[in-house]
Each structure stands twice: as structure tokens, then as C-alpha cells.
């Protein structure tokens, strides 16, 4: 069977184009994916960078107590890697905020939430106990808590940008951990993976963009390109760059960057977004009139 043409490439009316085109601009908030990766426990490197020093060190204790799997598993249904605990602690902390003040004491987040530094033994015991009780219900509780103020559960801007730039935690809290549990955490903390750093840079660019800070976004992207010339997230960076250029009124540069990408990756999932940033916006959505119905045909 031959593939039908897409409406947007063919017969859609102007009004329909506006409707369909609007969907293409939709997407998750910046950092949502990184948060999910952390909560799934598959963002080992990212977590190493993203965790605040306090959270990370607390999480190291958690990991050393063997509670990493609990913390990761509570949200993720998996993930026993040591690095997972870092991200999970961070995410669980937010979740806990949205659920109940008392539930704050989840995994490594407990120590941070209370601003105290209990002895490792005490903290691990507490973590373990609370995690055992609270963690399995987290997912369920989160589902139930979608009615709570979005700020509690969703608020990504409150944390990632500053958290991402937090210095890697000192490894001085790690020694108590058995080597098997400690190794991944320690290495993630001392030496964040390139992907993690790259992700952090992109998150910074997106956050700047979201704050209408085009130059800030472009600066982060320039740093990205300098340090990760052939990084894994090149296409993503380019999408953000095109968006930032468009937002800064640097249309020509936006088109040049976008066209170059489209030429080499015409069917990439990112190509559509770039087209929409460049082409659709210019042709189909005259400024200020995106939804005005066209004259009847």
C-alpha cells in the first residue's frame, strides 16, 4: 500500500493547518525527561550532576545501606544501580513534597529535607525504615495526588537549573559504603558522564529559553557545541538553537542552522520540529493571527 500524504503536506485547509500545527509546538516541559530518567534509575550519570551536594551525599549513605534499589524501585519498578539512588533521591524529594510533609523522609532526601546530618548509621536506619514503608506507595500516591497544586509535583524550574550546576559532591561521605554499592555512585559523583553534562547544558539552554533569555540559551548552546562537538544530543541542541535564534529575532541564522540539519537528517524526529519552527511559522501562522479562520473557501 502506498503511504497516504499527510494532511499538513497536502489538503488541509488553512484552519486545519493551524490546528494541526499547534500540536507540533506542544511538548514536555524542560527537564521532564531527565526527571523521569532519574526516577527510573537509568540516569546514573545525569543524577551525579543533577543532585545537589547534600542530596548526593545523603544518597550515598542510602546506597551504602543497600536501599538504593528500594529508592529507585519505588518509582521505577527497577534500577538497582548505585547511581540511581542519586536521581531517585532528588525526584522522590519532590514527590514527597507533593504527598505529605511527613513522607519527606524518603531515602537520601530525608537528610536534606531536614537539613541535618545524622550519623551514617542513624540515617541509613531511618532511610531504610521509611523507605520500606513509604516508597512502595509513592507511585500510587503520586497518581492520587495529581489534584494537588501543580507546583508541588510539576515545578521543574524550581530545581533543575541550580541543581544542575551544583558542584559534584565530595566523596568524603562514601567510605562507609561497601565497594560494590559505592563504586558507581562515587564514580558518577567524581566524574559525571559526558551525557550527563551534555544533558545539563541543554537543560540550561532550555531553561534560559523558557525564561525568555535568548542570549543565555545561545551561550549555553555555544558551550555545548564547544565541549560536545559530536555529542549524543546534537540534534536536540540544534532544535533548541533554532528555537533560541527564532526567539531572538535572528531569523536568517535560524534558517541557516535549520536547513543544514534538514539537509542531513530530513526524516529525523527533530526535523519536523525544526520545520515547524522555521517553515510553518512563517507560512502558516502569520503573527498574531494564528487562529483567525481563513475566509470561507
Amino acid at each position: 500500500m502506498s503511504e497516504p500524504r499527510r494532511l499538513l503536506d497536502g489538503e488541509a485547509s488553512e484552519f486545519e493547518r493551524t490546528l494541526l500545527g499547534a500540536a507540533r509546538e506542544d511538548g514536555p516541559s524542560p527537564g521532564a525527561r531527565a526527571r523521569l530518567a532519574a526516577s527510573l534509575g537509568v540516569a546514573a550519570g545525569v543524577a551525579g550532576v543533577a543532585a545537589t551536594a547534600g542530596t548526593a551525599s545523603a544518597a550515598v549513605k542510602t546506597a551504602s545501606a543497600g536501599a538504593a534499589a528500594v529508592a529507585g524501585g519505588a518509582v521505577a519498578g527497577g534500577a538497582a544501580s548505585g547511581g540511581a539512588a542519586l536521581g531517585s533521591a532528588l525526584v522522590l524529594k519532590w514527590l514527597a513534597i507533593g504527598i505529605a510533609g511527613g513522607a519527606l523522609a524518603v531515602g537520601g532526601a530525608a537528610a536534606v529535607g531536614r537539613g541535618s546530618s545524622p550519623s551514617p548509621a542513624a540515617s541509613t536506619d531511618a532511610s531504610r525504615a521509611v523507605v520500606a514503608h513509604e516508597a512502595p506507595r509513592l507511585v500510587e500516591a503520586r497518581g492520587a495526588s495529581t489534584g494537588t497544586p501543580p507546583s508541588a509535583v510539576e515545578a521543574p524550574e524550581n530545581i533543575p537549573p541550580s541543581a544542575v550546576e551544583a558542584p559534584a559532591p565530595s566523596s568524603s561521605t562514601a567510605p562507609a559504603a561497601p565497594p560494590s554499592a559505592r563504586a558507581p555512585v562515587a564514580s558518577a559523583a567524581a566524574e559525571p558522564s559526558p551525557l550527563a553534562e551534555e544533558t545539563a547544558l541543554l537543560d540550561r539552554a532550555r531553561a534560559a529559553l523558557a525564561a525568555h533569555d535568548g542570549p543565555g540559551a545561545l551561550a549555553a548552546l555555544a558551550e555545548h557545541d564547544r565541549r560536545f562537538a559530536s555529542g549524543a544530543l546534537g540534534p536536540e541542541a540544534l532544535v533548541v538553537r533554532v528555537e533560541a535564534l527564532v526567539a531572538s529575532g535572528r531569523r536568517v541564522e535560524a534558517e541557516r542552522a535549520g536547513e543544514r540539519f534538514l539537509a542531513s537528517h530530513p526524516s529525523s524526529p527533530h526535523a519536523r520540529r525544526i520545520r515547524s519552527l522555521l517553515g510553518r511559522q512563517a507560512e502558516d501562522a502569520p503573527a498574531g493571527g494564528a487562529v483567525e479562520p481563513a475566509p470561507a473557501p
Partner: protein, 214 residues
């Protein structure tokens, strides 16, 4: 490929219903299921990197409310984490989108049970802060209209329409992940387009009468 998509009964399981609706969650506490380590975290991470946005947008366009999409996306990847071994290499996207369809279906049911009205527009707009405020408002309105059109479609048509027209998946893949023959998918797409044209025309007429698009 089809076999890797979770069967409906998986999604009707108390676990997912609990996640979606906040009910009957006790089974979620069963320690062994959520604690199983992901055997191949690198693969799950790669799936997340490659398809998170697609999953998110699909959920949204399948009718999950903006404020619930992050949670729904989490569910999709939780299912993926649990069933990673059953996902054939190369079929990751189909698996995720197929799962998203079912999660969306559950979430919609749960949402209609909950019926707490929440203003989800601010959340949905977060991504679009680069354009000026007027354009932004227009876009938001356009998206609200699109959702209205999609809401008027039955889910089987809606899914095919969204995946083909908005996510630009090939019809063969859509057919596989929906679990129907390609011919059926094609005819659903035809019907979905008719619906789309019809509803959009009606909407536009209405907007015309009102002197604006809203």
C-alpha cells in the same frame, strides 16, 4: 512486533489502574514487582532519550490532560522497564506508543471519574515561552481547539489520526501497534480524516459566527 505491545489485561491490572486513578493501590506495594532491577538500564535510557517527547505528545493528544501527562509518561516507561525483555529490538517505539495508548485510555477514564477541574493551561504553555504573548495565546487557543476536535473522535480513530498526521509514523507501524491489519488502519485513517474535516469545518463555522476563533 505486535506481540511486544502489552496486552490489554496488563493495563487493566490493579497496578496500573491504581497509578492512574489512585485507587486499589495496595498491590503496588507488593515489594517484589517494583523492586526488580532494570536489567538493561542503558537500553531503557536510550528509549527514554529517543522517544520521551513522542510518548509525551502522544499521551497529550490521546486525551490525557496536560497536568497528568508527566505522570502518564512515567507509567509508560514503568511498563517498559518491567517488560524490557519482551520488547523486540527495533520495536521500542511501537511498544512505547502502544503502551501510551492504553495508559491514555486508563488515564482518561480515571480523569472522568475524578472530575476535579484544574486549570491546566499554564502547565501546557511552559514549553512555548519563546514567542510573544499574543502569538502564544493564539497557539494555545489553536491547541485547545485541536484537542476539542480530537475529543470528538472515538479513540480508535483518534489514535490513528494522531500517530499518522501529527507524529508521522508509517501506517504499517501504526497498524502493528494498534493491533489491526494495515488495511484497517488505513480505513480508520480515512474515517478519522473525514471526522476531522467535518468537526473542524463545524468549529470554524461556529468561530466565524462568533467573530473569532475562540
Amino acid at each position: 512486533m505486535r506481540s511486544s505491545v502489552p496486552a490489554l489485561e496488563d493495563l487493566a491490572s490493579p497496578r496500573l489502574v491504581a497509578v492512574a486513578g489512585g485507587e486499589a493501590g495496595e498491590r503496588e506495594s507488593s515489594p517484589d514487582v517494583p523492586l526488580a532491577p532494570v536489567r538493561d538500564p542503558a537500553r531503557l535510557r536510550a528509549m527514554l532519550e529517543a522517544h520521551y517527547d513522542l510518548v509525551w505528545r502522544s499521551l497529550r493528544r490521546f486525551g490525557v490532560r496536560a497536568g497528568d501527562v508527566d505522570d502518564a509518561a512515567q507509567q509508560v516507561f514503568l511498563v517498559a522497564a518491567r517488560k524490557l525483555d519482551a520488547v523486540e529490538p527495533g520495536a521500542e517505539r511501537s511498544f512505547l506508543v502502544g503502551t501510551a495508548m492504553r495508559v491514555a485510555s486508563d488515564a482518561r477514564r480515571a480523569a472522568s471519574r475524578r472530575r476535579e477541574v484544574q486549570d491546566d493551561e499554564p502547565l501546557r504553555e511552559r514549553r512555548d515561552s519563546s514567542p510573544g504573548p499574543e502569538e502564544l495565546a493564539d497557539r494555545r487557543r489553536a491547541r485547545a481547539l485541536l484537542d476539542e476536535v480530537l475529543d470528538a473522535m472515538p479513540l480508535d480513530l483518534r489514535a490513528v489520526f494522531v500517530l499518522f498526521e501529527l507524529e508521522e509514523l508509517p501506517t504499517a507501524e501504526i497498524a502493528a501497534l494498534v493491533g489491526v491489519p494495515v488495511g484497517t488502519a488505513a480505513s480508520r485513517l480515512r474515517r478519522a480524516r473525514e471526522e476531522f474535516h467535518r468537526i473542524a469545518a463545524r468549529m470554524r463555522a461556529r468561530a466565524g459566527h462568533a467573530g473569532g476563533a475562540s
